[in-house]
């Protein structure tokens, strides 16, 4: 999901994501992001920080506080040298950051990296389930 109050930015990012084979969901505000995240299956959130109304940090906090969305990777988009923004993102536990200007290749590789970590966590859960199934079978047999 791409979240930015600037329509052009959302359109450009969505266009690039599509070309890289992703299916982007567009949101133009923090509130819309929080609404859409429950209506769609969202793998990664690309989040702009400077938005009128609910800013990016408030969105991060809301996403992290809700168990349903707490584990969705959030990549925040910051101004190049904005140390304060990065410090705040670090404190709130964002997954990664991209500094403007954002280039397509970099964008795609960072998203793929986050998808891979999600997959790593899923494979751990799958392995646990398999072990549990084996244990139950052996209990039954023994």
């Amino acid at each position: 999901m791409v979240v930015d109050d600037d329509q052009d930015t959302v359109a450009i990012l969505a266009h690039h994501l599509q070309r890289e084979g992703f299916v982007p969901i567009e949101a133009n505000s923090g509130a819309q992001c929080l609404k859409l995240v429950h209506q769609n299956e969202v793998d990664v959130i690309l989040l702009d920080l400077m938005m009128p109304g609910m800013d990016g940090f408030q969105v991060v906090r809301a996403l992290r506080e809700n168990p349903e969305t707490a584990e969705i990777p959030i990549i925040m988009i910051t101004a190049r040298d904005d140390l304060d923004a990065r410090a705040e993102g670090m404190r709130l536990g964002v997954s990664d950051f991209l500094a403007k200007p954002v280039f397509r290749r970099q964008l795609a590789s960072r998203i793929r990296a986050q998808l891979e970590v999600v997959e790593t966590a899923r494979s751990a859960v799958a392995a646990m389930d398999r072990l549990e199934a084996v244990r139950r079978r052996s209990e039954k047999a023994g």
């Binding site: 450009i12 400077m50 670090m90 403007k100 280039f103 891979e116 970590v117 966590a121 392995a127």
Partner: protein, 345 residues
């Protein structure tokens, strides 16, 4: 993840949270999996980049298993020459080969009753892979030059920093051994992909330094922590651990600040895009990519100067508005937002 538990920690009861530090979902689930797989006898294959803590995971599995009072024998398959690895692992009889003056136990026999950790197993040559497969299937070891095989009871944990699945596709690794090893596959994420754990890990390493040197006050400044958080850590947790140790040594006061950070780390805190400086004498260049990058930067600068006004930005670059828009899409540049944010640059 602490890569080398220090003496004080070894004395304390083993706690997996202390060995594998982090709150990222991937690491929380990894710890749960370790606790689940440890008491079983199954073979485990650990995959992760170098420095992610594969040996820590192996050791944690051993320590939490019923074999914990038996030997844990780590073997780095890449560090032992190919022709020696077989006799190191399986042992040899007297006169089995030139220089084999006496007979010798192998590492598999040493690990009897315990766990053997085969790191960088992708480096093992095909013949030895076949021999290892027999150990896994029948539990028998035949030393080099011996007529008879002996029985061993060893749990095998293997690790690799390359994707063994791909090595199998290329024919570099035996398929049968791969499937036998990865009964339970464990993947460890690179540190840069679970960046949110960097502050926790840095604090964990600092805590260890404080424990080691009682009375020493040491902390990391907010700016320096942001730099650590922003860096990509190609050497993963091990690199971060070494860096924190090094910074603590360099630090004269009680606060580790950006002034003592090495250049590559300091640069990650200000990832200003450097100007394109390329000479053909440096070797091959990709002109298309460079031109595109330069275009991207100039477009971005023009948008900044014009407070995001595309018409004005296009004029500034001597382009038609349509050409400008097309370039904007192609270069993947995000138009900067309001000027007040840009002025911090």
């Amino acid at each position: 993840m602490a890569l080398q538990p220090k003496f004080a920690e070894r004395q304390a009861p083993f706690v997996v949270e202390r060995a594998l530090v982090g709150e990222h979902p991937a690491i929380v689930k990894l710890r749960a999996l370790i606790e689940r797989v440890a008491p079983t006898e199954v073979t485990v294959l650990i995959t992760g980049e170098s420095g992610t803590g594969k040996e820590v995971v192996a050791q944690a599995i051993h320590t939490l298993s019923p074999r914990c009072n038996q030997p844990f024998v780590p073997v780095n398959c890449a560090a032992i020459p190919h022709d020696l690895l077989e006799s190191e692992m399986f042992g040899h009889e007297r006169g089995a080969f030139t220089g084999a003056a006496g007979s010798r136990h192998g590492l598999l026999a040493t690990a009897d009753g315990g766990t053997i950790f085969l790191d960088e197993i992708g480096e093992m040559v095909n013949g030895l892979q076949a021999k290892l497969l027999r150990v896994l299937e029948d539990g028998v070891v035949r030393p080099v030059g011996a007529d008879r095989a002996t029985r061993v009871n060893v749990r095998v944990i293997a690790a690799s920093n390359i994707d063994l699945g791909k090595a199998v596709e290329k024919g570099a690794f035996r398929k049968d051994l791969f499937y036998r090893l990865q009964v339970v596959p464990i993947k460890i994420a690179p540190l840069r992909d679970r960046r949110s754990d960097i502050p926790l890990l840095a604090e964990h390493f600092l805590e260890r330094i404080r424990d080691r040197t009682p009375g020493r006050e040491i902390a990391i400044s907010r700016e320096a922590m942001v730099a650590l958080w922003s860096y990509d850590w190609p050497g993963n947790v091990r690199e971060l651990e070494n860096m924190v140790e090094r910074l603590a040594l360099l630090c004269e006061g009680s606060i580790i600040d950006t002034s003592i950070l090495p250049e590559n780390l300091a640069a990650s805190a200000r990832p200003a895009t450097p100007p394109v400086k390329v000479k053909l004498s440096d070797g091959k260049v990709n002109l298309n990519n460079l031109v595109r990058e330069l275009e991207g930067r100039l477009i971005n600068d023009a948008l900044k100067q014009t407070e995001g006004n595309k018409q004005a930005a296009a004029r500034l670059l001597g382009l038609k508005r349509t050409t400008f828009s097309a370039k904007l899409r192609r270069c993947g540049v995000i138009a900067p937002p309001a000027l007040d944010e840009c002025e911090e640059d």
